[in-house]
Subunit: 131 residues, 2 copies
Amino acid sequence: MFDLDLRSRKPIYEQLIEKTKEMIIHDVLKPDEQLPSVRLLAKQLTINPNTIQKAYRELEREGYIYSIPGKGSFVANKKEAIYDEKVKQLEENILKLCQEAFYIGLKKEQIFSIVERAERAIRGGEEIDSN
Amino acid sequence: MFDLDLRSRKPIYEQLIEKTKEMIIHDVLKPDEQLPSVRLLAKQLTINPNTIQKAYRELEREGYIYSIPGKGSFVANKKEAIYDEKVKQLEENILKLCQEAFYIGLKKEQIFSIVERAERAIRGGEEIDSN
DNA sequence: TAACTGTATTATATTAAATAGTACAGTTGT
DNA sequence: ACAACTGTACTATTTAATATAATACAGTTA
């Protein structure tokens, strides 16, 4: 579930934050679903509980989860806000890359074909949604 | 010229590598043009010469520049190879982002409009090339 | 009450990044 | 020949971020 690369140059807590965000955005973790406790997850990942807590603290600060002392940590039900932010961020990144691509001479058609390739890659692995 | 953010969480030498690559790709630095010496650039950026050398060493390893002991460091004239690699890398990144975008529900038309916005942003600031 | 939960704190260890200093050999222009 | 450049190499040290370790406290749950 929370599989992360302990030998990466990227900090563990950052990886954990990213993975958790992804799972929330992709609805792998449902709203109000309980997350594993800091101690349990630390044991499972064989890392320190403080590292987990650091990640959870940041996730709560950004509104992805909420924590109740004594009860546990849960997925926030603010999917719209989070989703909108994610879309905005994606758009920014795509825009930036496309500008770079145009800047060094790629043509619009080349980028369109990449977009279509991405669509096929995704649509191929999912049931058709009829819209 | 080599303006970089000394307070970034990103290592200085990595920033320097990226900036230099950009300038080479964008032809701001021409083939066989001499780069500032490690000592001079270190003084200009008020950082340590070793940090510059680390960046130059990596740039040479990747084929972006070549260094001649006693003479200096120069921009490599392998633009085609570097360019091809850059294009490939850009395509990979765009593909990845588009897959992510499709995955969370964006439509092809939305991404196309982003691509076109990027094109306008670039074409607006350059003379038309007639192809 | 026992065993969970989140939270907080302090101290320590580890590692990467950056600095500092020195040295050696090749190049360049005077 | 000489002074002033160049790249390169090496060791030692400092700094900051990351991660660990060990506790502690309070609320929750069965």
